[in-house]
Amino acid sequence: MDRINGLLAFQTFAIMCEGQLQGLMQMNSARSLCRLPEQAGKHLAYVDYVETAPWNRPNIVSKPRFRGVGITMIRAAIEHSRDLGFHGRVGLHSLPQSETFYANCGMTDLGIDGTYENLRYFEMTSSQADALSG
């Protein structure tokens, strides 16, 4: 992450609580364009990386310390996209264990992306963003 420090296209978000880092997200507004047919070729805010701290993950600890890190990050990604004038359009490649979450958020599943480590690609339209943030 040192390499992108100060570059405008890479906005980084951190959630701090009780003096500790609870989640981290890196956006990239210059990586790719929309793939969904209805918005193909338009700009989007792409989530390069998002992760929550290990002690907040139900699959690692039986009692996660904080919930809502993920939904807060997605909301932040939407607001960031709006700020850029991309109307809440967001894209990301989900890790297999997180696919249900992005589907729950209302994002469209565009299937496994063979060009990016066989991760599933999800995209959010502006109306999906409106629905989630409303």
């Binding site: 992760e51 807060t72 909301r75 490649h93 890790l95 979450f101």
Partner: protein, 155 residues
């Protein structure tokens, strides 16, 4: 950027998260466990048992061994009990001298150099046969120790 999240929105939307993880992007991938590293751990475990057994056979306390081999007491404790602790080659060399064991084989056991599969097998068998009693070595432990030392000497 303004992020005005109301409590009401948060409580309503947090349900979407459930027990799911939220990881995205290849960077979020957890490192995969390395099988080779696992078998090396077993070898390192045998190294700890070997040093402990040799020390007990000589009737030395950790303190005495530390003094004799000029190694920190804390390092010897960690060599014997913490399989993730990687001792310095220098410390391993001193231990080899203190116990009259082949340095090359000890470096392999300590994880400083690569241990051949056969060495791994012998080390694992030795680790499985050595106990943790702080008292004198039992006859079986002594036998296991002697066999393993003889094997190391042949290396």
């Amino acid at each position: 950027m303004k992020l005005a999240i109301t409590k009401e929105w948060f409580e309503r939307r947090v349900k979407l998260e459930g027990d799911h993880e939220i990881a995205a992007g290849a960077l979020a991938r957890d490192p995969a466990p390395d099988h080779e590293a696992e078998s090396m751990d077993a070898v390192r475990l045998a190294f700890g048992s070997l040093i402990e057994s040799m020390r007990r056979r000589k009737g030395l306390t950790i303190e005495k061994l530390a003094e004799r081999s000029e190694i920190d007491v804390a390092d010897i404790v960690r060599i014997e009990r913490d399989a993730h602790f990687r001792p310095e080659p220098r410390a391993v060399y001193r231990l080899a001298q203190a116990f009259d064991l082949p340095n090359k084989a000890l470096q392999q056991l300590s994880g400083n150099t690569y241990a051949q599969p056969e060495m791994q097998e012998h080390a694992l068998r030795f680790a499985a046969r050595s106990g943790e009693s702080p008292q004198k070595l039992s006859r079986d432990e002594k036998k296991a120790l002697e066999e393993f030392v003889a094997y190391l000497a042949r290396q």
